[in-house]
Amino acid sequence: MAHLICEVVYRGIFQKNLASRITRGIVLSARKSGRWGIAFGRYGDSPQRNGVPAKDFAIVADTPEELEQNMARYEPKEVDVTICVDDTLCKGVESWAWYGLQPINALTVPNGTVLVTSTQSVDELLKDTHRKKTPYNLSILPGKASFAGLWVYKEDHTEVRVLGALAKIAPKFLTIEAVSEAIKAAEWGSDLKVQSARKAYDRLQVRAVMPHEGNPETPYSFTLPKWWEMREGVSIPSLPIGKPIEGDQGYRPVRSDVFKKFSSRTMRPVVNFDTCVKCTLCWLQCPDSCFDVTPELLYDANMESCCGCGICEAVCPVDNCITMVNESAFHDNASQWEMWRKDKPAYQAWLNEKIADKATTARSHGFRYRGQYEEELERGERELGGSSLADGIPGENAEQKGIKVGVHSEHAVAVVTGVAEAPGA
């Protein structure tokens, strides 16, 4: 009797299909060796919203009875493998389904594995990842977070690379042969993706993480009230209005200290206070009221409250005054305004460094116009990109879509096998 429990921690909507393909792939691979399995989402996570952390699970077991034992719970209380498909989730996850900030490794069993798709190094990831009382393994699957949408799926092979890596982590349940067989079946006989899975399998590195390693911060938490403590009539008290920041200067709204939502953020605004014209647009348009008004009437995006939607950048009338930067470039939620006030030249240097690197400032999700993804593929901008769309992607309903199944140009194959050249490989 044995079983394997995996969770996939992902960004709502952007990675919904990715997470579901991974958990399905786990069950279908395990089925190839006669095992039983279930794939399901953390239902309380839905309705999903852009970027809101969410979870899918896959459980495989030797017998249906043992599977039932594990299905009897709403969600697993501990998992053998935590698969994190966006490295900024290593900062902790706050979802619709629970309260407080959950460390990414919270459910990982002692000596279990956290598998992260990332272009960062282990040391960088450990700046974000909270400390765990027991040792565990950290494995990095080199690559950018694969973001798509509710109705679209980005064929950049992330799902099969995760499955290949998993075959290395848990060979007792998923052999690379079983994984390859399942991928091939799901891909209408093509073995293009099998190659990507095998490459991930061959190259996976494991780093043991000790209890003293990681982010020492205690994540915020919340205790649910008892039924008789709660107000009646499905009502909750509102937050009080805000207060000035210093003396009677500035304004900071009162924010919930138990529901912060910042773990939804994949990008954050970086503000150039020296070029700000105090037009108030960012402050007015922010859907989360995340801007604090400083005594100088500047606007400081509070990182405990910002969801990273990018509206402030879009409405700001001054070029490069607000720039959205990939969240992985930061390791704390410190106030930018405080930093600016303390040492303006140092702040300018910091700001220039953060916004200069177009590789990280480039939008990490979403497309601005139809066909952008195809263009990026053409230009080779996506180092993990799949085959050229015109060649046809093997997959679901290929026949109905009039796509030629299993036909790939040499060029397309080269792009895909170039996966290992991703930073950090």
Partner: protein
């Protein structure tokens, strides 16, 4: 070098397939096999997963059906009601307050003897806005002439959908059937499921024949004229008789299902789990709570406790005679409700009081405790099921209950 593969030849449903699908997708497989004619949709979680799965079947050319997105649940149920009257095999469904919004067409459907099959993705009724499972949505129609069944697994959802059409469209019945599926636990969980062949389904499910009730120019009839007090009781009596006939028709359908599909669904009415040795305590409930309960039963059996479980499958018609017989074997009964019925006898849930009534005329009437569990999708934990068994054991020893109902799993 990449191999060039041939696209598989499309020959759907010619051989039995094994698919990894959710309860909702399993229903869509059954609907495709049943070759439904009209389906109406209006999104609400968790029912919307069925709607999406059916849309995909239509889009992929596997199902030739009119797929109508209504502007609300009321219209959704009205449209299929009319389509069924003109001879179409129909499907629709909803969840929680969506189902309640359709209440007017839902109410008139049984009297018109419309064999509509609907899926209810069980969901807590607002407020508070929540989407976890609670059975009050489907139970709200328990007195109206709908046949109601609860399923537990994706496989059972698929099988029961086929059975539902067979029963509903039987000329002796012509009543709507709602298939209740626990939100999340069943609708959103993917498990391995066997999908039968088209030939098997054709052998099991004859075409829908509305016969003399067909609304058609060649068969001029008026449906639902206004009446006075001279007519209503007789019409109700017709519905009552049809519902009573369902006991026999359901048994028949399960017998044929077993013969044609080779899957033994045992007793059509309820599943008995470890009840053969006249256990001290029998727990009872509907839907997916069976999983934690069965796991607990196995655990307690290993500790030497005589505990069993009965999972009720059909709530309407309610198998009161067979159930009274099966429950009479125990020294105490615990009925787990995933619903509430405020101000009811003993403050119990709906199922517990139905069981109390079913036992009233029995010679063997063990003490019965009602339990309210897992409302709004809260996890039914093994700890709480164990607690329920302990309370029932106490009742088994003393022959009486201290309290009619316990709420377990509430923060207090």
């Amino acid at each position: 070098m990449t191999t060039v593969a041939q696209a598989p030849t499309r020959a759907p449903y010619q051989v039995e397939q094994e698919l990894l699908i959710s309860g909702s997708e399993a229903i869509a497989e059954a609907l495709t096999l049943a070759d439904i004619d009209v389906v109406t949709a209006y999104p609400i979680r968790p029912y919307d997963t069925v709607m999406q799965a059916v849309a995909k079947k239509v889009a992929n050319g596997l199902l030739d059906a009119e797929y109508i997105v209504a502007e609300g649940e009321h219209s959704q149920f009205e449209i299929v009601k009319h389509a069924s009257a003109v001879g179409a095999r129909v499907f629709c469904g909803s969840s929680g307050v969506g189902w309640m919004y359709a209440m007017e067409p839902i109410t008139v459907t049984p009297a018109l003897r419309i064999p509509m099959v609907a899926m209810v993705g069980n969901r807590a009724l607002d407020d508070p806005g929540a989407f976890g499972v609670e059975h009050n949505d489907a139970l709200s129609v328990r007195d109206l002439g709908w046949l109601l069944t609860w399923v537990d697994t994706a496989q059972e959802a698929l099988d029961t959908t086929l059975i539902a059409y067979r029963v509903a469209e039987d000329r002796r019945i012509f009543l709507p059937i709602a298939i209740s599926c626990d939100g999340a636990f069943l609708t959103h969980s993917q498990t391995i499921c066997k999908v039968p062949t088209k030939a098997q389904v054709e052998a099991f499910l004859p075409p829908y024949n509305r016969a003399d009730l067909l609304l058609h120019p060649d068969n001029p009839i008026t449906v639902a004229p206004q009446v006075n007090e001279d007519w209503v009781m007789e019409i109700r009596q017709q519905n009552n008789e049809a519902t009573n006939r369902a006991y026999g028709v359901i048994e028949e359908a399960y017998r044929d299902f077993r013969r044609i599909f080779g899957r033994d669904l045992h007793n059509p009415w309820f599943e008995e789990y470890m009840t053969d040795d006249n256990p001290d305590v029998i727990l009872m409930g509907m839907g997916t709570l069976s999983m934690p309960v069965k796991v607990t039963v196995r655990k307690l059996r290993a500790e030497g406790k005589k505990v069993g479980f009965i999972r009720l499958k059909w709530f309407r018609p309610f198998p009161y005679e067979r159930l009274a017989q099966a429950l009479g074997k125990a020294k105490a009964i615990g009925v787990i409700d995933r619903d509430y019925s405020f101000g009811s006898p003993f403050g119990s849930g709906v199922v517990a009081n139905e069981v109390r009534a079913a036992l009233y005329n029995s010679e063997k009437r063990p003490p019965l405790i009602g339990f309210i569990f897992g409302l709004g999708g809260r996890e039914v934990t093994i700890e709480n099921v164990t607690k329920a068994v302990e309370l029932c054991e106490h009742a088994a020893r003393t022959g009486k209950t201290d309290k009619g109902t316990y709420w377990l799993g509430v923060r207090e």
